[in-house]
């Protein structure tokens, strides 16, 4: 038997967990948002609010226009951490190999656990029941041969239920699902697919490579691969919060000037930023490490309240850190480490679309021709 993965999906995590401490909320449509923000948006919606057409990413004013009686509640990070911990603890009764993607998404590698818990789907039934009994949480659970197919399967049935996609039946299962369920399909790609009348994942899977790239750009091939259910990535037991992405740049000759240092820093950002976006992640902390000619090194960590994803915002955070530790002396190497990773929450409403698409084109060019295929001019200061 091949690999077996169970995906646990607690949709609208931040909203879904609140009735655990305030059961009366079950009867109300409510959203999670920061009402005092300059332009507040819905972070997460309750099932009742979703029925009224109020979804995450919508502006709060628009949500109120749809439903004036809407209840607005702030996020409860303490409760979220507690629930995530409980989810992990229950899941760990079934396997030691768990990938915790936070916000109610867990992948369990259950290959080889059948002697203890039966076939993967039976194990999934037990997991689901344990979550229901111990946490009173209704979740969507799927078992499949890889993470991607399991994820699409939970999206198919959410908000709750259980489904099995048997080995060898990934393609026919995916073929009939809506293309919007495919990870990587956001509003922009969704609009392109709509124009091309590609409504199901199966229709994306049947595109030729040329058709996929012509229609969807360089991401087309990756989307086509996903539509075929191909996902070689393993369940990574390190939680996203524990994982880091890192890029180090060694100067050919020790750098002294600001321009050289900033150029090197940007080159490191270009590399690590590309890795971040390729994994569809964002981060909340940027660490900058400077290695001096005299053998000494120092580092600074900058934390951000909002998620960081684009090169410019990553550079800004890294440069702020750099400025704090920069001293007189020659620098041999610079490293940038991204920590506090989280799944990408999708497009930022306030990122100008042009800037976002320029970055996407730059990323796909680098994927195709390597990191040196396209560089910002600033990095040329770095020898």
């Amino acid at each position: 038997m091949g690999s077996a993965v169970i995906h646990i999906n607690l949709p609208n995590f931040q909203a879904a967990i609140l009735p655990l401490i305030e059961p009366s909320l079950h009867d109300y449509p409510y959203v999670i948002a920061h009402p005092s923000a300059n332009r507040p948006i819905v972070i997460s919606s309750s099932s009742r609010a979703i029925k009224e057409g109020i979804v995450a990413g919508m502006s709060l004013s628009r949500a109120f226009a749809r439903l004036p009686k809407l209840k607005v509640l702030p996020p409860n990070p303490h409760l979220a951490a507690k629930v995530e911990h409980s989810l992990l603890e229950i899941a760990s009764h079934f396997t030691p190999t768990i990938q915790n993607d936070s916000q109610g998404h867990l992948y369990l590698d259950v290959s080889g656990t059948s002697r203890l818990f039966g076939p993967p789907i039976d194990c999934g039934v037990k997991v689901r029941r344990a979550l229901l009994e111990e946490l009173n949480l209704e979740v969507a659970v799927a078992s499949a041969t890889n993470k991607l197919v399991a994820k699409i399967a939970t999206r198919t049935i959410k908000p709750e239920g259980i489904i099995e996609v048997r080995e060898g039946e990934e393609s026919p299962f995916l073929a009939v699902q809506d293309s919007s369920l495919l990870p990587g399909v956001g509003p922009k790609i969704g609009a392109l697919l709509q124009i091309a009348s590609l409504t199901t994942i199966g229709e994306i899977a049947t595109l030729s490579d040329v058709e996929a790239t012509t229609l969807l750009g360089r991401r087309g091939l990756a989307l086509k691969e996903a539509a075929l259910g191909i996902d070689p990535s393993l369940v990574d037991p390190r939680s996203l919060r524990e994982r880091t992405l890192e890029e180090r740049v060694d100067f050919a000759q020790s750098a002294l000037s600001f321009d050289e240092i900033r150029g090197g820093l940007l080159r490191a950002i270009e590399g690590v930023g590309l890795s971040l976006r390729r994994e569809n992640l964002e981060c909340y902390s940027v660490e900058t490490h400077l290695f001096y000619d005299d053998g000494k090194w120092c580092s600074e960590r900058i934390n951000s309240k909002s998620p960081l994803k684009g090169d410019e915002e990553l550079l800004e955070a890294a440069w702020r850190g750099c400025e704090k530790i920069l001293r007189r002396g020659r620098i041999n190497s610079i490293a940038v480490k991204l920590t506090n990773l989280a799944p990408s929450s999708g497009g930022d409403l306030f990122t100008p679309p042009l800037k976002a698409s320029v970055e996407a084109v730059a990323d796909s060019t680098r994927v195709r021709y390597g990191g040196a295929g396209l560089r910002r001019a600033t990095t040329l200061f770095y020898g």
């Binding site: 039966g118 789907i121 039976d122 037990k126 029941r129 259980i162 489904i163 099995e164 699902q177």
Partner: protein
């Protein structure tokens, strides 16, 4: 609630019904052990109100699920299905009055594909029978997609959860509550005889105690998320369905 798909099988005399039990007494005997039964005769011949009233009078604590007539699922004639549906609906009256009709099962064959014409028909039928506790069982995998699930949730129609042999193109294991009740149908796991054999051989299977434990987990989870869960064993050959249903009842009650 646990029961079997059908109760009137001659090969149950001996394994379940005492030897010499006349067929007219099958239902009464059945009602001594179970509180619900899925009536399958209504698939082969159109039921009448008198028939169902008489069945309801056999044991007032027995509740029923009816399988829709084949003219509404397998042999659909576009010009005639409405009158067939009306006749079927009229026959249900005594059970509806007595509040003993738990569900009306629409079991579609493998040949009923996820195509425009079939989807329109299903929509029209569900609309026609709106207000009845409807459950839909599909045998073709194409139906198991997010649109079907959403549509059934909107209409409060149950998607039947199935247990079948692990064979290509048969529906997946999927338990999703889309109505105020859940419906679990257990057909056995006879891989060898599923295709190309007669009905009796197809459902010739006895669930092992280990398999029943996992079915009990499924049933308990469904029961925790919905007010009513109906579980029926269809592995009827030689009374195996009864044997398994009694064991499951014991597991769930114990």
């Amino acid at each position: 609630m646990v029961g079997t798909s059908g109760y009137s099988y001659n090969d149950w005399v001996g394994p379940f019904y005492p030897k010499g039990t006349p067929s007219e007494q099958f239902l009464e005997r059945y009602g001594e052990y179970f509180t619900t039964v899925e009536l399958n005769f209504s698939y082969y011949r159109m039921p009448t109100a008198d028939q169902l009233r008489a069945m309801g009078e056999v044991n007032s604590s027995l509740s029923f699920t009816l399988k829709a007539h084949q003219s509404l699922t397998h042999k659909i004639v576009p010009a005639e299905w409405r009158s067939e549906a009306q006749t079927f609906r009229r026959a249900l009256e005594p059970l509806l009055k007595a509040n003993t009709l738990k569900a009306l099962l629409l079991q579609f064959p493998y040949s009923f594909h996820y195509e425009v014409e079939q989807r329109r028909y299903l929509d029209a039928l569900l609309h026609y029978w709106e207000g009845l506790p409807l459950a839909v069982e599909f045998r073709h995998t194409q139906w198991y997609n997010n649109r079907t699930i959403e549509a059934l949730r909107e209409r409060q129609v149950a998607l039947v959860a199935l247990d079948l042999p692990n064979l290509t193109n048969l529906p997946p294991h999927i338990d999703v509550v889309t109505a105020p009740f859940a419906y679990l149908r257990l057909h056995g796991r006879n891989k060898e005889n599923w295709w190309g054999s007669d009905v009796a051989s197809r459902y010739d299977y006895l669930y092992s105690p280990k398999e029943l434990l996992s079915i009990a987990e499924r049933a308990r989870t469904l029961a925790a998320t919905t007010p009513l869960t109906l579980v029926y064993f269809n592995n009827h050959r030689g009374g195996q369905a009864v044997q398994n249903a009694l064991s499951l009842k014991e597991l769930l009650d114990g």
